[in-house]
Subunit: 341 residues, 4 copies
Amino acid sequence: MTRGVVLVDPLPRIVDLIMEPDVRNRLERLGRVVISEDRPMPAEQVEELLPDTVLIFGQTDMPRERLDRARNLKAIINVESNFLPNVDYQTCVERGIWVITPAAAFAPPVAEAALGMALDLARGITQADSEFRAGNEQYGLAGNKTTFRFAGAPIGIIGFGDLGRQFRDLIRPFKNFVRVFDPWLPAEVITRADCAPATLEELMSESQVIFVFASVTSDNQAFIGAREFALMKRGAAFLLMSRAAVVDFPAMVRAAETGHILVATDVFPEEPVASDDPIRSTPGILLSAHRTGGTRDAFYALGAMAVADAELIMKGLAPQLCRRADPMTVGRFRSKPVSVS
Amino acid sequence: MTRGVVLVDPLPRIVDLIMEPDVRNRLERLGRVVISEDRPMPAEQVEELLPDTVLIFGQTDMPRERLDRARNLKAIINVESNFLPNVDYQTCVERGIWVITPAAAFAPPVAEAALGMALDLARGITQADSEFRAGNEQYGLAGNKTTFRFAGAPIGIIGFGDLGRQFRDLIRPFKNFVRVFDPWLPAEVITRADCAPATLEELMSESQVIFVFASVTSDNQAFIGAREFALMKRGAAFLLMSRAAVVDFPAMVRAAETGHILVATDVFPEEPVASDDPIRSTPGILLSAHRTGGTRDAFYALGAMAVADAELIMKGLAPQLCRRADPMTVGRFRSKPVSVS
Amino acid sequence: MTRGVVLVDPLPRIVDLIMEPDVRNRLERLGRVVISEDRPMPAEQVEELLPDTVLIFGQTDMPRERLDRARNLKAIINVESNFLPNVDYQTCVERGIWVITPAAAFAPPVAEAALGMALDLARGITQADSEFRAGNEQYGLAGNKTTFRFAGAPIGIIGFGDLGRQFRDLIRPFKNFVRVFDPWLPAEVITRADCAPATLEELMSESQVIFVFASVTSDNQAFIGAREFALMKRGAAFLLMSRAAVVDFPAMVRAAETGHILVATDVFPEEPVASDDPIRSTPGILLSAHRTGGTRDAFYALGAMAVADAELIMKGLAPQLCRRADPMTVGRFRSKPVSVS
Amino acid sequence: MTRGVVLVDPLPRIVDLIMEPDVRNRLERLGRVVISEDRPMPAEQVEELLPDTVLIFGQTDMPRERLDRARNLKAIINVESNFLPNVDYQTCVERGIWVITPAAAFAPPVAEAALGMALDLARGITQADSEFRAGNEQYGLAGNKTTFRFAGAPIGIIGFGDLGRQFRDLIRPFKNFVRVFDPWLPAEVITRADCAPATLEELMSESQVIFVFASVTSDNQAFIGAREFALMKRGAAFLLMSRAAVVDFPAMVRAAETGHILVATDVFPEEPVASDDPIRSTPGILLSAHRTGGTRDAFYALGAMAVADAELIMKGLAPQLCRRADPMTVGRFRSKPVSVS
């Protein structure tokens, strides 16, 4: 009996980035592994392998014509963690081909960093270090004139997917009242996590610390703008952890610059940020270069989740760790291809 | 019937610092309140009030001779949160006079800041902001070359009193293995909190992040020195949150300066720190000017705890929130008077 | 504009059983509601309504021919919580018709009862009451000769779906080491819940309390039999909470009868149990008449989850609360139609 | 140097009941151990040993005259877990002799059993087993006509010492609103545990399940009587877990008998209960023969806590696990000597 082909076409990732040796070994046991990681797999190679391919790890284009030739294909596992319009999702669904992505691998490090950055804004950690180095430090209560306790502060979470929910669990010991705005979810999902469903307006105006974990869709670009920032309490904190496009970025920067709110951001409209971008010297913003998710452990988790679900699929079982591409909703996402790992 | 005197002699605190209006009102209901807060209460006033005094809030000297005249005294509540040798503790115990302090009021803000500072060191938050402002930021994985995840990292806690235990509860969602070194405690107290008792050596050498929450006693001055820092793993983090005197401070600074470990400290051998102290430009140290505990809410909690326990004592019940001065152990503490609130 | 038809064909449930007034009102807002609950909806009525039907709540047969006529159908929501072979699941998938069920509604009451029954076996609660009434009670330590503490005891969970995971969260304060056997899941799902993946043999032989939460499939009928019960420690407890068919039921009863283990069961091979079934007088078994899931709140949750997901689907969003029927795995389940609510 | 005497006079306990071999070995290292466990240590032996005694484990009478002769005594550790008026507590305090008891050892098993008994009443577990055996079982919803979910039900806790607090932590996953009545505590202790301070009236009338964990004092005998039971909601549950004397026991039995409430009790006014006591056939009461605390692990914990604190005391440190006898409050307790272990 011949073993099926496991087609690995992982750019912008490479295999060693996402798989530790033991996971790589498990990958090898799934079939005959063929890898292209110095460049996207050339069309002729793809075409040649397709009839024997059982699994695709990567972002190979898979239009209807290719699917027609991939008669043994069981799953396409997107390891960029972005569903792009280069796959005929509807045909995959009809033929029982799983199209999945281990995107949740990045949730744990982002949630952790979000808490770190929130505690930084609340308690003035980076600010205090900077003042100390400048010789302007204030001791005791004098050093807490503009700080607040994160514990017990009203929190707002915008976007309550994997990331939002993991973050929620991380802050349980702080006993906050947590409002959630997520128009894609029923109230039950929010209340079961001991949070309160809220409108965007209520969340913006009542929260002391607001976290944006929402994905970009066709409907929500720049949905948080000057009007929303104006609703925030003076001195409240706003952390942008997911995608720059969901906010009116210049409005956010202005709200920090004027001292109305404190801001932390891990994402920017264009990355890398221009060397002369004035944000580099704007006060009241904690800057992070799209680096909260991209930790070594997260990339390894990405590969481990992908392989674990591939193992289930090869046994005829449903994947348990990756998210599925739903043809009905995938078209709404507005992710850009990842240019830096 | 005349009401007893409530003698309030709170310096270096003042009443408005530690009591919100409702707590102040509860104080007034405990007796006839006499306050001296612009200066320590003059001896003649103390002497005059003593026979009618039922409660002392503050740091009034109370040697045997004064206790002999304070026949109605039920409690001395130290609101500096430091037991100094100006009270005859043994005589208080013999006469059933409670001597207590609401020192635990500072534990919640310090624990919160300790987590914030630890996440800062682990994930490089202040460092990344600084690099971004200097135009040297690194995106994605490149920005994580020297960072590590706090979640799951082996943790060491030195000193497991109120502060250490509250901190332990704060990090539960991170699922760390936590070692505790505290020679004043039986193993049961440590294991019940889901931690492992450890020797100082084991803790120093096996932990990725180490927190010092220990008080200074006659036995433990500078007990963490060059030898102990050398035991630490390269790149591990050390956070000094309680008293500078428990470490060999110059050795700690050197360990950071050489890049062996990351350090954060909220305390210094002399405060305020001299304007030309080289620590102000030492890399690898996150600096905080003894400000993690002194938040407004902590001072209010101090007053609220003091008054709540006073209420119990006036009803003939045992205090529940403050710590007692044990004559047998109080002498070991080496706290200095608080010079800044 | 005409509103679509919401076809409600809920037997063996009825609408008032599963929907409180506010949920019923939300149902009415989804379209023109047509209900048949005194009998399954007659074929001619179904045929007439199909072209305008947008949602089906219930167990209506939906073969290919009917789906061909239901051109506006968006979802079939099974409120019996059993996927039976009366729906063409593959065609539904191809056409983007959601087929879902709020089966998880029963998990919370079953998990709660499972803990209650486990504490009963561990601490001898029903047994002690019975001895007291018979005049044979034993006080203090003498009353604990055969009991054990649930806290800290090694636990085994067989089947780690909604129910198993909710149960796991319910026992967190008891700090048990928890082994899980579930061949449909990758290790990651189990370890993330702070449990250890185990083989069936290891779980049976090492656990002090074993819970069966597994569904019946074509592969696992009677997979726990005499050999497995023999592996259990003397005096350990076995709780059958999901389906009788997963165990060799007579072997389980024998293991209790001989005093080898303690047993609790909520399910039986035939229900109702025959009036002369000897199990009614078997010692060592705690009996429950398939009643742990069927609480009033669970039925209401069933309806609320069904309607909440229908609301999402009508807005073009993915359901969030119900489980989907996967054509590839649905055929493996061996559930029987529900005969009693 | 001669080793001090460790006087062990533990009746009604015996050493092997409370100390596992490793703890016994630690006891031996504390000094020269002299045990009397077949009978209370005879006066002449006590008198002879007193001058050299450093530790007493047990209930030896220690009036002033004996304390005067016990010049090396550091601690009296009561292992019956009841402070009786046979010790001159005031003199002990004056001389720095610790008088302590590891009473909290019984809290974990009682808390666990309290939850088991509460789930039994709420979900009808013993009742359902009994009906099944009688051939009257009801399946599904019909079997839940009088049951309720413990999860989410409003809970009342009367007495919030070690036991009440441990119980509170055990039920956290059930997400109840918890009211606490404890007139010896300030509100802070209650709210920190995420409970609401309440009056007895409010607690009785608003709770679905009420737990009595209060000790008996001179002030609270029979403080829960017919008036309080009448305040309870029909069908609510009342669990008496601490001391029979805090309730009007006949009134409690009547409230169960009439079907007004469900009751579970682990304690009785006279123990053992008379063989013809009508409570043995009263419906609506779950009976337990003062056996929820007396588990083997609890007795071993008692001994381990006693020895661990003795080790600290011998090092000049404060005990950490046992409760102290406060001369000012110890006189209020109205415990009876323990007649059965």
